[in-house]
Each structure stands twice: as C-alpha cells, then as structure tokens.
Subunit: 501 residues, 2 copies
C-alpha cells in the first residue's frame, strides 16, 4: 500500500467504528429500544456524533487529504483509494463549515426526532411534531448555507447530497415529463378500475404466517440470512453495519396482505445491493451503495419490475395460496396480478401503485422546494400537503396521519431525498431494458431462477459500492447515461397491456 | 459544581458514550446479529474499545484525578463525585498497566469468542473452543500480572474485580462452611425425592404462550417495559445502556416449562436493580449495580426467595394453569412448589436447584484457581470438570455440552466471577432475614403485592448504584456486615420444612 495513503487508515478505521456504533444505535432505537430510553440514549448518540465529527474534521486529516490530492500522489493511488480520497474531500468540505457544537446538537436532535414523529403520527397530532420539525428544517437550511460558496439555491445543495450533480432545473424537467405521460395514462386506467376486485387483500391474514411467507420470499430473492436480519418497525427501512450485516424491517398488518410482502421485496432489493458490495470496499467510506437514486433503483427493480410481474408470481402462486388457502380460494393468479398493479390515486406513498407513485414524490419535491426556500413554514405543511394531493391526485387525506405525517424522512433531517425515489424508478427501467438484451428475463422468473438477474446487477452495479456514481454506472452498464424515456415507455407499455387499453 | 470536578465531565461523557456503544454491540451480537457478521463487527468493537482505552488512560485524566484526589480537593466534593473519583482511580490503575494494543486485541478477541463458544457448545466440540479460550486465559493472566504490585496470587487479583476485598482465603472458608452444611442435607433430601413427580415439566409447552406468561410475570415483579426489553439468546443475561434501557434475555424450550420462567425471574431481578438506580447516577461510572455479589443477590432473591415460594405462586396459580390447562390438569399448587424446589444433583448450573447450586459454583471456583495458577491447562478442563462433578455431585456429564461447555462466562473473559453467584445467594439470605423484620413478607406475596418488598430493596440497595460496596450496603441495611450463616440457616430451614425432614 502507498505509504502516504497508509497514514489515512487509522483515521478511516476510527470513523468506521464510530459510524458502525451510530448506525446500530439508530437501528436499535427504531426497532427495539424501550420508549423511555430515548432521552438518555440521545445523549450518547450526540456525544458519539461529536466524536465522529472530530475524527473527520481535524488538521491531521486535512493535511493528509491535501497531500494525497496532489496529482503526483493522487495518480499513483489505486482506483478504490482514489475514490476514498475524493469521497473524504467532499465529506470534509461539507462538515468543516459546521461548528462542532451545532453538529452534535443536531445529531442529538435527530436521534430523538423519529420517535417524536412516530408518536405524533399515532396521535394524529401534527402540532406535537411541528416544533421538532422546525428545528430540523432550520438546521438543514443553516448547514446548507454554511457550504453555499457558489450562492446556489439551498435546496440544490441538499439535492446534491443524495444525487450528485442533480438540481432543481433537471428535476423540474424530469417531473414535467412524467406528469405529461402519467396523468393522461392514469385517467384511462382509473376508468377501467371497477372490474378489479381487491377485497381479498383486506381479509384477515395471520401475522405469523405473513412473517414466514415474507422470510421465504426474501430468501427466494437472494437475501442471505447468514448475513442479514428482518425485524419490525413503524416504517420499513434498510440499514447495514457492513456487507455481512444488512438489516431490513417491515410492518405486518392483519388486514393487508400486500403491505408486508411488497415492503419486504422493496427493502430486500436495498439489502441485496448492500450484501453484494465487494469485501474490499465494505467498512470503507465507499463501502455502501452509490447514490440514493441508484439505491432506490434496486429496491424498485425488485419491488415492481420483478415483484409485480406475473412471471415472478407464477412459480410462487402455489406457495402463497397454500399459506392462505381460505383467503385466496376465489382468487386466480391473473386477478392477483391485476390487483397488485391496480393503479388508483390514494393517500399513502408507500402503498402507492407504480403509476401514481411518482406523483406522490412530485408533491413532496414541490413542498420541499417551498419549505427550504422559505416560501412556506412548517406550520403551513398540513394545508399545503392536502392542497397538492387534491390538485395532483384528486384526493384529500382525511387526517394528517394519512397525510403530511405519513413519512419518517423529514424527522431524520433528509430533505432532498424524496426525488431519489422517482429517479430510482427511472434508473430501474433503464437497467431493465438493458438486462432484457442480455438474458431471457421472463424465463428466469418463470423458472424461479433469479440468479442470472441478480448476477448481472451485482457485476454491473452492486459490487462497485460507491466507487462509481449514477451516470458512470449507467454508462458502463447500458452504454447510455441517465435517460428517463425508458421509464415513461415502461409505464405506458406495462399499463397498456395490463389494462388492455 | 466544583470547578475542578467540572473538567472531568467531558471525559466522563466520552467514556459513557463509548461504553453505551460497546454494550449495545455486545447485546446485538448475542441476540440478533447474523452469524457471518462477527468478523467485521469485531473489528469495529476492537477499535471502539481502543478509543475507550484512550479516553480513560491519558495524561489529562491522570492529572485531573491526581488533583481531585488531594485531600483539600477531595473533601469538598459531593458524595457521588467522591465515589466517581475513587472508581476512576481504580479503573485507571487497572488499565494503565495494559499496553493499548493488547487491550484492543483482547477486546476484539472477546467480541468474537462468545459466538465461537456457542458454536462449539452446539457441536459438542471442546477442541473448537480451546484455542480461543487459551488466548483468553493467557490475556487474563498477563493483565492480572501487570497490576500485581503486591505479589499476590493472580486469581486473588481477578476475584477483587468482581467483589472488592474478597480473596481465596475467605472463599475457601465460605465454601467449606457451605459444604459442611449442604452435603449432609442434600443426602437426606435426595433420599426422599422419589415421591416428587416432575414429569409435567417436560410436556409440550407452546413457545408463544411461554413468552406471554414470562412477560406477564416480569411485569408482575416490577419490570417496566417502558424502560426495558425481553429478547432471546443462547444463554440468558441482563444488560443495560442506562437506567431507562435495561434488557434481559431468556431461552424458551418447548419441553421445559420451568427454564424460561425462572430465568425470566432471575434476570428480572438483575433488571429491576438497574432500573431502580437513581437518575443522578445513571450514565456515570457508578451508575450500575454494586459488586457482582450484590447483583447476584438481587437476581437470586427474586428467583429463589420470592420465585420458588408457595406464597408467590398462590395468587399466580390460576393464571399459570389457565395458560397451560392440559399440561397442568393433574398438578396441584403444592406439587408444583415441591417440584420447582426439587433438589437433585445434576449437570447444569443454570437449571440447578437452590441446594446443589453452590456446589456447582464451588467446582468452577476450584477449577479457576487451578487454571489461573497454572496448575492445569485449558486442555485439561474437560477431564477435571468431569472429575469434580463426580466428586462433589456424584454425576458425570455425558457430553462436554452438558459439562465444561455449558457456561458462557469464560468466553467473555470473566474469571473470578463465578464465586459471586454463591456470595449472592448468601447476601440474599441476609437481606431476606432483614426484610422479614420490617414487613410481613409472606402476606405481601400472597396478596400479589410486591411493592413493599421492592421498595425496601430500592431504598436500601438499588438506588445507590455502585456508590456503596457490599459491606457498606449490608451494614447500613441490616446492621451487620456479610455473614454466611443466614444462608446456611435459610437452606436448612427451607428444606427441612419442604421435605419434612
């Protein structure tokens, strides 16, 4: 190993260890910790975050990175080392402008805020959550302004954290394209919805049997239980300590069969990505997935392109109907496929179908733009939320629990993340088009053999971790940089066939 | 707050935060983490332990403690502050003689070793575990020798870590007293065992129902689920992040009703202790239970003195028999009480009755003495173990799984801990004698009202955390320092009545 680079290793190790601890503390808080633990535990989280800050922002690191970034030193580094140096430079730049005390206070705040959100959601009381959210918004605006050396819009700075290089201009175009395609398609689709009977989905499904089935399906997709765990939380999510400890959560509802199944498949997609990252990268600053958009592309690829196809369910149908024979006795595979793809404007993003999903995202994107630019305040959110839902989806959430309180994201301080979901859908469609040129996708699914599909994803995307960005991955894999047309074509093709339009 | 003491606070906070992370990582490894996670996670644990070491052993801390220990400074500190300074001085003395690299390597080793032990136990293969155990023993001897400035026996140094001031001389006397009392009593008891039918205990008990019942009983004892969690692990244990996050584990066996119930009550006793520690102490170096002996006194008090009494079960009997009506239909409360107190030499410590329990401990104590003094090697353990079981209990474990591999402790590097269990039994008996002079113990239990009992424990023991040692607590509570006669009297009285000797 390069002698200069070697000096960086103890610093990287320290950051990795502190990050591992912080991730585990967050996982634990959201899945297991007792309710009254929060206050004391947040104190420890704040302190560890302060340690992480100190481990990242200090003169040793600055000098080392400065040295390593000089062309004569940088050029002789190995590929992964170069990527790590670049990543650290970016991270350092982001963090060094934040006063350590503010960083620590913010970490302490966000260690508690998801639980405050969850309680407010449970009580349908936005006011309980508003003061916390106001603090979080204010920190995010402040932190973005600290590093705004090019006088950009603050929201562009936040967007860049999740998808390098993407800004409001591009997203406005992207969403305009989607809106133009989706809104008329959705109208045609909704007109034919009456014939789809989804009533079986809200019958009573034993929770233990749902758990068993979800475990089965996760393994079927390639989730390795020797390297992963499934637990429960209010809002499904994926996290990982390293590539041999990847964790997903889901939520089981007695009267909703689809919910746990599709959140397991979705989070399973995230998890398989993390499990497939190369051993040489895990526990380094580039040892996790690439951009959030690429991460979402994997979860949505599994959830929608694989998980909502008839080819996927054909070999699984017997298993599902023998697990729930009473509930599904009058349901055919074709009916089930229509039902799990039924497109219908509704309130909840995570339960949304493929067609309306990106409209849910568009609403959040527009609201975040307004909020971060200061055109609206936190107290305006419930009103604006409902107005936008009425405008784009034609529905008004009857409660804030089903409206503005539905998502955990803002409580984590992630503003600028939501667009990644829509970008992820589009990336997934582009990848899908490529994969179909390489293998008989349908046949693999019909034969219950997902290996060739997962192998392609691993070889072209997963194994690289964060050493390549979205466009590098897409260009190398598909020969083309990001192109949203694949997504529009995919949606039109899928829904035209499915609904016989 | 004292100005000089105030400078210590950031150091205390850093240690607390790192300790919280390390405790959570250990909890997670033993309860949830996927099997292949171990190697990578141990790397993070090793690094965090190194950070903890650096946070404790450095010139800032040394100088601060040196200053604060001067009489003119020490005497003006508050009670808790004095205890914290004393505790840190002791900890610093223990740690500063260990080279940081050895400390880190040892932490990394013990982060993995419990899983290696568990796998070897599962396979009944001591040889798989032996190399790891050899390393652990060697580190423990080395670490003890580093701080052996008075040329003591190494095992005396280890004993002092768990019970300040106790040494082999006192333990030899203690165990001799127990042996003299227990061995003849056990002989009388075993002679009358034929009439006790325990067969109901190995019928089939639904795991979910066991879980429900154990949860019920934990709450009944005073375990607060807003501040605690019950999970599952191979070997039941208690851990805590602070007084509002206390966690116990148990293990459910389909064909053993008593196992999960009594391990829940036992660990519940540890947990209630930690939950009752004063808010002003939690997250400080004296914010956990006093000595290991005092901790075990609480778990054994709940398990045996409360949990195996007829008065305790009288108001619970209906609940138990309606939970398992088929299995218990021919069992009376009196039969049940005799059965859960049946004394019989057997292989497994954790399943042992009150009478043989301390003999199991005596065996471990004698083996540890030999091992740490170098009179035997790790490779001798299976043989010596079986010889001692034959000598003291008249039984020879048929496998190492049921013999030398049964306990997790050595894999954690805890040598000198086992005697605490026997001391705990004795301390519990002394406390019991005191409590009976204050309240009508039997009546409280019969009325299902444990509050007066737990209140006395909290007020005299729990709330003080580690600010008082065993003898201080006993002296202030009972007016007498440690006296093992109470234990002997308790056992003779209990078994004479129960077995009508």
């Amino acid at each position: 190993m390069n002698e200069k680079y070697e000096k960086l290793i103890p610093h990287l190790n320290k950051m990795m260890a502190l990050e591992t601890a912080l991730i585990l503390l967050q996982w634990d808080t959201e899945t297991l910790a007792p309710v009254e633990a929060l206050e004391n535990t947040a104190k420890a989280v704040g302190l560890l975050s302060g340690e992480y800050f100190d481990a990242m922002v200090n003169d040793d690191i600055k000098n080392l990175l400065h040295e390593l970034s000089k062309p004569e030193n940088f050029d002789v580094l190995e590929f992964n080392e170069q990527k790590i140096v670049k990543k650290l430079n970016k991270q350092l730049k982001e963090m060094e402008c934040i006063p350590p005390e503010e960083y620590k206070a913010y970490s302490e705040l966000t260690a508690k805020s998801a639980a405050i959100w969850a309680a407010a959601k449970e009580k349908n009381c936005f006011a309980d959550y508003a003061p916390t959210l106001e603090e979080i918004v204010s920190y995010n605006k402040k932190f973005a302004s600290y590093r705004n050396d090019e006088n950009k819009a603050l929201y562009d700075i936040l967007l860049d954290d999740f998808e390098e290089g993407i800004d409001m201009k591009q997203l406005d175009e992207f969403f305009a394209k989607l809106r133009t395609a989706i809104v008329p398609l959705l109208k045609q689709v909704v007109a034919k919805n009456d014939s789809i009977d989804k009533s079986y989905n809200s019958l009573s499904y034993d929770i233990e049997k749902q758990k068993e089935f979800c475990k089965y399906i996760a393994e079927y997709l390639g989730f390795d239980f020797k390297r992963g765990v499934i637990a429960e939380s209010a809002h499904p999510f994926t996290t990982n300590l390293h590539n041999k400890d990847v964790r997903i959560t889901t939520h089981y509802y007695k009267n909703n069969l689809e919910s746990s199944i599709f959140s397991t498949i979705h989070e399973g997609g995230h998890a398989i990505y993390e499990m497939n990252i190369d051993d040489s990268l895990t526990q380094t600053p580039v040892g996790h997935g690439s951009s959030m958009g690429v991460h979402e592309s994997q979860s949505r690829f599994f959830e929608n392109i694989i998980g909502r196809s008839k080819d996927f369910w054909a070999p699984l149908w017997d298993k599902l109907t023998t697990t729930f024979p009473e509930q599904l006795k009058n349901v055919s595979l074709d009916q089930f496929i229509l039902s799990i793809n039924k497109a219908e404007p509704d309130f909840i993003r995570t339960e949304a179908d493929e067609l309306t999903y990106s409209l849910h995202i568009m609403i959040r994107y527009e609201i975040e733009k307004l909020l971060i630019s200061g055109q609206i305040e936190v107290s305006d959110l419930p009103r604006i939320w409902n107005e936008k839902y009425e405008e784009y989806l034609g529905v008004v959430p009857p409660t804030d629990t089903l409206g503005v309180l539905q998502d955990v994201h803002w409580s984590h301080g992630t503003f600028g993340y939501f667009p990644s979901y829509a970008l992820g859908n589009a990336i997934a469609s582009q990848i899908y088009a490529f994969i179909q040129t390489k293998i008989d996708f349908s046949e693999c699914l019909r034969e219950g053999n997902l290996k060739p599909i997962v192998d392609l994803l691993r070889e072209h995307i997963h194994k690289y971790g964060a050493t390549k960005n979205t466009n590098e991955l897409l260009l190398e894999m598909t020969g083309e940089s990001f192109n949203a047309d694949y997504y529009v074509d995919y949606l039109i093709d899928k829904y035209t066939k499915l609904y016989q339009l």
